[in-house]
């Protein structure tokens, strides 16, 4: 009779008899075994198929489309790298690259710094700050479109806007169009996106701080270190792995930002908040220049990969 999958996976002698009362030892991987194949394929095939349909095929098709000139319903024309050449010669696209850079760096710096700082403070009273941390994390769970509509009202250009009303307490009659002024629109968006994104860095950094061995902190106390010194010299350096993950996740999220821009500014005013993600949407879906939009998508994909690959390599190396 064939051995069980667990026995096969573990190899001879790896699984002790339950009658013997011995502890179940973890199987040791010793390379590919022919007898594992059917079960393994059975388990991973659905994932591969789904991944292929929803990720790999659209990805390669987008790359393929980026080599064609497709305008509206007109037949596609092969243009090779023409769309890419046009793209980098397009002043509007170059402007979106800069806007994307400012938006990405801005939201990442603000949300991670704030999340990290709050995590440090919460670490001094973990139990008492649980409701606060919970509330902060909720913002991360709110859809960007929903928070965008909420902030649209807060940032209304008239005196009825909450922000203007609050400022109006100190400066009577104050009214500023935060989203209509090209000088403030992008920063308003960065602030809103950071507000939405601060919950995750807070939780990641807090978890990193919590994983610092108590003995290290106790030793510091015993040596007479003050809370600020403990935070600066122990908690902050030892929570850096959490910060790195938070930076990585925030960077990717900010690079791909679309919903909040679509809802709040539509890329305006005067294209002041048009990121690559929004440019891609405008070209593809409103202008219906699918090839050109696909080329912008590929550029964005490359930017995401440039950030992701070193981070993944680093994480993988860390795991080993």
């Amino acid at each position: 009779m064939a051995n069980s999958v667990a026995e096969q996976a573990a190899g001879p002698g790896e699984v002790s008899s339950s009658k013997g009362g011995a502890r179940l030892r973890l199987p040791v991987t010793r390379g590919w075994r022919l007898t594992d194949a059917p079960a393994a394929w059975l388990l991973i095939t659905p994932v591969i198929v789904l991944f292929g349909i929803s990720v790999v095929y659209p990805l390669f098709d987008t790359i393929r489309i980026s080599f064609f000139d497709i305008k509206g319903l007109a037949p596609a024309k092969w243009v090779g790298l023409g769309n890419y050449v046009t793209l980098f010669g397009d002043a509007t696209f170059r402007n979106t690259l800069l806007t994307t850079l400012i938006f990405t760096v801005g939201t990442t710096v603000i949300s991670v710094s704030l999340g990290w700082a709050l995590a440090m403070l919460c670490a001094f009273a973990p139990a008492q700050t649980t409701p606060f941390r919970g509330m902060m994390f909720v913002t991360f769970g709110i859809s960007e479109a929903v928070s965008g509509y909420m902030w649209l009202n807060i940032l209304r250009p008239d005196k009825a806007g909450l922000l203007n009303a609050v400022i109006g307490i100190f400066v009577p009659g104050y009214a500023h169009s935060w989203l209509g002024d090209p000088n403030t629109a992008l920063w308003a968006l960065i602030f809103v996106a950071s507000w939405s994104g601060v919950g995750l860095p807070l939780m990641l950094c807090f978890a990193a701080v919590q994983s610092i061995p108590r003995t290290v902190l106790e030793a510091a106390y015993m040596d007479g270190a003050k809370p600020f010194s403990i935070m600066r010299h122990i908690m902050m350096p030892l929570s850096l792995p959490g910060v790195r993950v938070a930076v990585f996740i925030n960077l990717l999220g900010a690079l791909r930002a679309f919903d909040i821009i679509y809802v709040m500014t539509g890329g305006g005013p005067v294209r002041a908040t048009e990121t690559v993600g929004y440019f891609m949407y405008r070209e593809s879906m409103t202008q219906f220049k699918l090839g050109y939009g696909a080329a912008a998508t590929v550029v964005l994909l490359v930017a995401v990969l440039v950030i992701s690959i070193p981070a993944i390599i680093q994480r993988t190396a860390g795991a080993k």
């Binding site: 169009s177 002024d181 090209p182 539509g266």
Partner: protein
Amino acid sequence: MFNRTMRRRTVLAGAMFAALASASPMVLAQGLSGELVILQWQTGTDGQMWKEVEAKFTELNPGVTIREFPPAGTQGDARGGIRTAVLGGEVVDIIINTWPAFRAELVNSGILRPVDDQWKSFGWDSKLSQAWRDLGSIDGTTYGVTYTYGDRSAIWYKTSQLEKAGITPPATWDEFLASFDKLKAAGYPAPVVIPAKYWAHTEWFETLLLRTAGVDFAAELAAHKVPWTDPKVKVALMKYAEMLKAGCCAEPATMLAIEQPYPTLYTSEDSSYLLFGMWTNSALKNDLGLKEGVDYSIFQFPSLGAGFDDTASVDAKELNLTTNGANPAAADAFADFIIGADAANIMAKYGYASPSTAADNSLLGSVQQIATAAVAKAKVQFVLGDLLPGDLVDEYRVQLQKFLQDPSEATVDTVLAAIEAKAATAY
């Protein structure tokens, strides 16, 4: 005997068939059946109106069922969703369209069938004038059956505000500019609301262009037969600048943040005048519950005295019939129905005008009657933004946003040069 009877029956049957075949399509429409698929992208009150129109059609043609196909992502501009649906292989009989440039795109892709034969057989000449037929035509072939239109040169106002300011609707440009101070004194700090977040700021320029350069020039500009740097275009923008400098509006940043004008205009007390589409009528009546002609009204764009005061900008919606629709007979009958009295009466109830002579204009509200009368005696030109290629219209709107920020002569030159540069590659 048998042969003779058979021959007689054959002749009779043939005669009956010939009589049926020569009967009017209206008679044949009685026997319509099957599913009629309409690519319908209107939502809210307009969508509700359309449901009522469809229900009336199916009541008159009980053998027909109507299925609406709503394209994805219709918020704002439905063209992307329509293109996706068509490219995705969706088979529809009718497409509702409001963009002439998009109609050309559909025709070039072989999606639309001409309706010249139907025009003749249904006798649409008796319902729609040649001008409406021309509006739905490309190079002499008719593809669109216009079923509603709107006056885009009508300025909306709230009656109580003008009364409070002690003014009547201004008839001339100078009176219009002079009314700003009176409205401000009456407590309305920004007499004109310009929702400039996306496109509505171009409305003022478009009517000013018609009033300073005429419909023929505007048509040539739309086709890029004249450049955007033409002095006549600059004159129109400078008139726009005159209005901005006369203190018509809120700060540019406020205009650039406004997308939806109705709450701003009708629930706040800041502004009085709005230049927007005739769907405003439906929104104010049906969504905000205001009384047409009592709470709000319109006046036609004030005269400039430049020789083109008999012009107006219009928009329209039309039906396009597809080449691959599964039920062309029902589609033809629906196109006939939409310009008939039944459909026109339903649209009138919602505040929309029909170009059909079958429509009873006395059913229209007072505001819509003002607009209808104004368009009837005007030389009209379709909304410029809807005639421009997609690439160009985007640049045109953004450049006019820049103009709003600084309406100086230098900016006007820069803005027009930028639009012209885009136009050079967009056609």
